[in-house]
Symmetry: C2
Subunit: 296 residues, 2 copies
């Protein structure tokens, strides 16, 4: 595996923003943060918590300095990045007090923000929580697809609350900017509604479509599929495990988004022979589609 | 515009299967057939019918030999390819008798097959109709995206009925094989059900999804969209005009496919907090998705 080098960090090395960076969960996102941090700040310690198999891979990739399957290894961390599935991140918040004795900035990379922001209000005062959500997924998850340049040019949504969080938010902003991302502040409610449409609805739609088509035409029929079906269902390769948490912690917004899609599909279904509604929807859709980045 | 050369045709030139190839409708498909036929059989005449603007472009691309905006130019054709939208193709069938005086093989490239096969039964006996459907679309239609290698390695579904059609079907098979496509015979009913799932349902879903997301998040929100939304909605760039005909001529099968998708989306909606159904659907979808060609 050849690792791209983040040019900016090499050309103009900066003192590390954090000395001991703890990362819990080394999937695509956590692993990519680890790889980038090691390249950017050779003097900082990257400490990882995950299960033993994942940590072995991470050591082999030189992604981390210290590894353990227990939070105790984070005792000295000044930044803790929770990069496990959303519900695990929320559960982990409650365990930090026991394991980390010094003040630390805590952030996460979860795809929903309201529940974890609410849970973070119960953290002891020596922790400052800043919510984070890098919009830099990939249809393929897991550490084996991690890359230090995963966040380059991508938005990184940040949610924080209260006066106390602002200095910490500045530091986390600088951290994600160093990874190549573009931090944007948004409140947790607006975030969850936005990603329900931009990310969660497309994901559920792609998976539902793939299942319906697969069951209807079978493996033989799929040999006749073209690029259209392949594009539309590419997200159906996403790992199921993270999506259960995302759906559960954004159920209301995602239900509302699903209802809008279902209602429109029902309208189209009622107009197949006439086609005027269909033509209007296609025309609208084409105009919206043109606003997506040309590169995509 | 650089035109790829079909290597097989160049290396081993064959006598033309048809001497005068008439093509009605020079969009992506008709235009690509014209370009390929000109390369493969320099001695055959490629005669095109479309409106004047399109024909000017076609002449500029050296895609055709003879052009007119009237079917009269097809009088001597021994192959007529109807490559207009489905309902126009059906209407054109009724006009052939008036304009073409000699026996001819007639085929089409439409995305639905039951209606045109039924209409073709009323053709005078000097015409033999073989239904055709090249599975070689692109998210971008129109002559400007036509290429002679569009059909290379792609399936070309063929429907024909009756004894009389079999010799013509053989010849059309050889014709599409020369274009690089892989002919497959299928009956019209099975065809229309198959493409309802493989092609029409993904198209309607992509357009509906894009419209719902665009309306919900607006142009600003779309700047935060990632590759997932871009992939899932790529088909929403398809030209609306051809889809009205496709939906109308496959309304029953497409309605059934839409109902299956809507039912599954409703199941997912009811299970967002629990997530067991969601996890099962995601798992199924991931397995089906793996059966799509690795290249896609």
């Amino acid at each position: 595996m050849e690792l791209p080098v983040i040019q900016l960090g090499r050309r103009d090395p900066q003192p590390p923003l954090f000395d001991k960076i703890g990362i819990v969960g080394l999937g695509l996102i956590g692993g990519s943060i680890a790889l980038a941090a090691r390249q950017l700040w050779p003097s900082a310690l990257v400490i990882a918590v995950d299960n033993k198999d994942v940590l072995e891979t991470a050591m082999r990739l030189h992604a981390i300095d210290v590894a353990a399957d227990d939070l105790i290894v984070l005792a000295e961390a000044d930044l803790v990045v929770l990069a496990a599935p959303v519900k695990q991140n929320i559960a982990l918040l409650a365990e930090l007090d026991e394991h980390i004795r010094r003040p630390a900035v805590v952030t996460d990379t979860g795809s929903t923000k309201r529940e974890i922001m609410a849970a973070a209000r119960h953290l002891p005062p020596r922790f400052t929580f800043v919510g984070g959500h890098p919009l830099a997924g990939s249809a393929r998850g897991g550490l084996e697809h991690a890359r230090p340049d995963l966040f380059m040019g991508r938005p990184w949504l940040m949610t924080s609350t209260g006066e106390r969080a602002s200095a910490a938010a500045e530091k986390v902003s600088a951290f994600v900017r160093a990874l190549g991302a573009q931090p944007r502040t948004i409140d947790a409610e607006a975030h969850d509604r936005l990603v329900a449409f931009l990310s969660h609805l497309p994901q559920l739609t792609a998976s539902a479509l793939m299942r319906v088509v697969g069951e209807a035409v079978g493996a033989d029929g799929l040999t006749l599929a073209g690029r259209g079906l392949a594009d539309t269902t590419r997200l159906a390769s996403s790992p199921p495990e993270i999506w259960k948490d995302i759906a559960a912690t954004n159920a209301d917004e995602l239900a509302a988004a699903l209802e809008e899609l279902i209602a429109l599909l029902q309208e189209l279904r009622a107009d197949l022979r006439g086609g005027d509604r269909l033509a209007a929807v296609f025309e609208d859709a084409r105009r919206w589609r043109e606003l997506l980045t040309p590169a995509s």
